[in-house]
Amino acid sequence: MRGILRSPKIVAGLLILAFFVVLALFGPLLVGADPTKTNSVGLAGPSAAHWLGTTQSGQDVLAQVVYGARISMGVGVLSAVIATALSIVVGLVGGYVGGVVDEVLSLITNIFLVLPALPLVIVLAGYLPSRGVMSVAAVIAVTGWAWGARVLRAQTLTLRGRDYVQAAKAGGERPWRIVFAEILPVEFPVIATSFLATVLAAILAEAGLSFLGLANLSTVSWGTMLYFAQNNQALLVGAWWWFIPPGLCIALIGAGLGLLNFGIDEIANPRLRTVLPKRARRARRAEVVS
């Protein structure tokens, strides 16, 4: 645990994420303003009254960013939960059972890895009768589970032969108990990293869908903000304060998740740690010379 907090990447990543979680949970209490309330001062730049300016219909951009965090991050997390659950089942069952079951599951996983996710999500979302948070999250999850399943399968394959698993097997444990009580907890770090990556992919997918107008356009999310900014010619009138903040939030969350994942990777794979190669190389050379 101490090692984890000593990594600056992990600390920075956690701080960024904590900021956005707090923003989504408590931000609306602080901002107060209704994100959909219009007023007569449209397309005003940042000012004391509207820190991030207003949209074309005079809605407060800051209020939209803060409320939008709830939908964007909500869809992201919900979708990642569904996708991760799927990847755990597919990855662990395939890796543990092996044989034909594994081959079929691996084939399906590889197919979903190669197929381009966004066009598939677009077609699925197009057919949705209503585009609520839950159904959009589910549709995004359909395309987001394959990477996690592949990594977990590989991990399960190496764990399957370990002594403690063999012991549990010899002790007469039922297979589902071995998979979910003995193997699953050990894979927690892998599950965590793939979960974080899936959250980001889902936030990006939601933004893409909304940008196309395929989300519920009456709710405020970062994606719908970008949709309205694009469709109301925010660009041509130079209203940068309208479209810069939502995209910046997405990229910052991504940076936080990325740093966190990178930090975890470095702990898991010491070769990636790059603190002192130059010093080490110099030392090595000195040894050779002397």
Binding site: P116, F211, L212, L226, L257
Partner: protein
């Protein structure tokens, strides 16, 4: 050869899966797509259009197996149904008109991004532990940036504020289309900003992918050996480490292609580029399901073809896969 045949087999199965998913989606999603569309148009629709829609969904009556069979037969003849938006134009010709623009733009931008990104990754790995590591937070930021948002920002700065570059369309309307210098120049000029967008949004993955593989490779004994032999740094870096690190990196490159294409398609919308993206936007706006599904199918097949090309490159680079064992 054997490796390539196995990959080819996998892509054929994947193509079949994409085709079958495409067939199943309208049947598995709640509601009948044709009824849905007729209702949305308040009944103001040609009976011919309804008939052709049913045909393009394969809803021709009969058992689901015979529908599936008809659907496969139609596909084999390149028949994807008729577009609702551009009725009575066939979906295949709508997509056919847009596809070259997308392939040209995304293809060239992806190659540029791959070459620059991989080079930067090699250098970043070689100089790990120096100030260059401070690019890490920047790359994680760039990895997460939505393509279309980069497009909006670039249009804002270089198109609107500075007016340096054109921000919409694929060529100037004042030049005569055809293969002449003026037209080609105009096409290239209009492609600059969209291409930069795709490069900026996709390059971080290439840099990080290459850097991480390369850092691992640099720990191998043969690299230490090369250094011990007193070879120049450049030789060790490029001929020993980078050459071997490129291989695993190709796999991650081909897996990221679908993501790049998805992002690029949204980028085209910002630039009103006449590629697949703009057609997709029209399809979404008009609830044109045959067109949407056709686009999904074509993009999937294009990504599979690109993957096959990456595999061929892999075989060309790695002698081990060429062993006839």
């Amino acid at each position: 050869m054997r490796y390539l045949l196995r990959r080819l087999g996998f892509y054929l199965i994947t193509a079949w899966a994409a085709i079958t998913i495409n067939f199943l989606i309208p049947r598995l999603m709640p509601g009948d797509p044709v009824d849905l569309m007729v209702a949305r148009m308040n009944g103001q629709i040609d009976p011919d259009a309804i008939e052709s829609m049913k045909k393009s969904f394969g809803l021709t009556g009969g058992s689901i197996w015979s529908q599936y069979w008809d659907y496969l037969g139609n596909l084999l003849h390149g028949e994807l149904g008729r577009s609702i938006t551009f009725y009575p134009t066939h979906v295949s010709s709508v997509i056919g008109g847009a596809l070259p623009w997308t392939i040209g733009l995304v293809g060239i931008a992806t190659i540029i991004s791959y070459l620059i990104g991989t080079t930067l990754g090699v250098v970043a790995a070689w100089r790990r532990g120096t100030w260059l590591d401070s690019i890490l937070p920047t790359t994680t930021f760039l990895q997460a940036v939505p393509y279309f948002w980069v497009a909006l920002a670039l249009v804002m700065v270089f198109g609107v504020s500075l007016s340096w570059l054109p921000v919409s369309g694929a060529y100037s309307l004042s030049v005569t289309t055809g293969f002449n210098g003026e037209f080609v120049g105009s096409v290239l000029y209009h492609a600059i900003l969209p291409a930069i967008t795709i490069v900026v949004a996709s390059i971080a993955d290439r840099v990080m992918g290459m850097r991480n593989v390369m850092v691992t490779t640099l720990g191998e004994d043969y690299v230490t050996m090369a250094e011990a032999k007193g070879l120049t740094s450049r030789r060790v870096m490029w001929r020993y480490a980078a050459r071997n690190a490129i291989l695993p990196n190709i796999t991650s490159f081909s897996l990221s292609l679908g993501f790049v294409v998805g992002g690029s398609v949204l980028t085209e919308i910002v630039f009103s580029y006449p590629g697949i993206g703009s057609v997709l936007l029209k399809a979404v706006e008009n609830e044109d399901f045959p067109l949407m599904q056709g686009i999904f199918l074509i993009i999937s097949l294009a990504v599979l073809a690109a993957n096959l090309l990456a595999d061929i490159a892999y075989v060309a680079l790695d002698p081990r896969t060429r062993q006839e064992a």
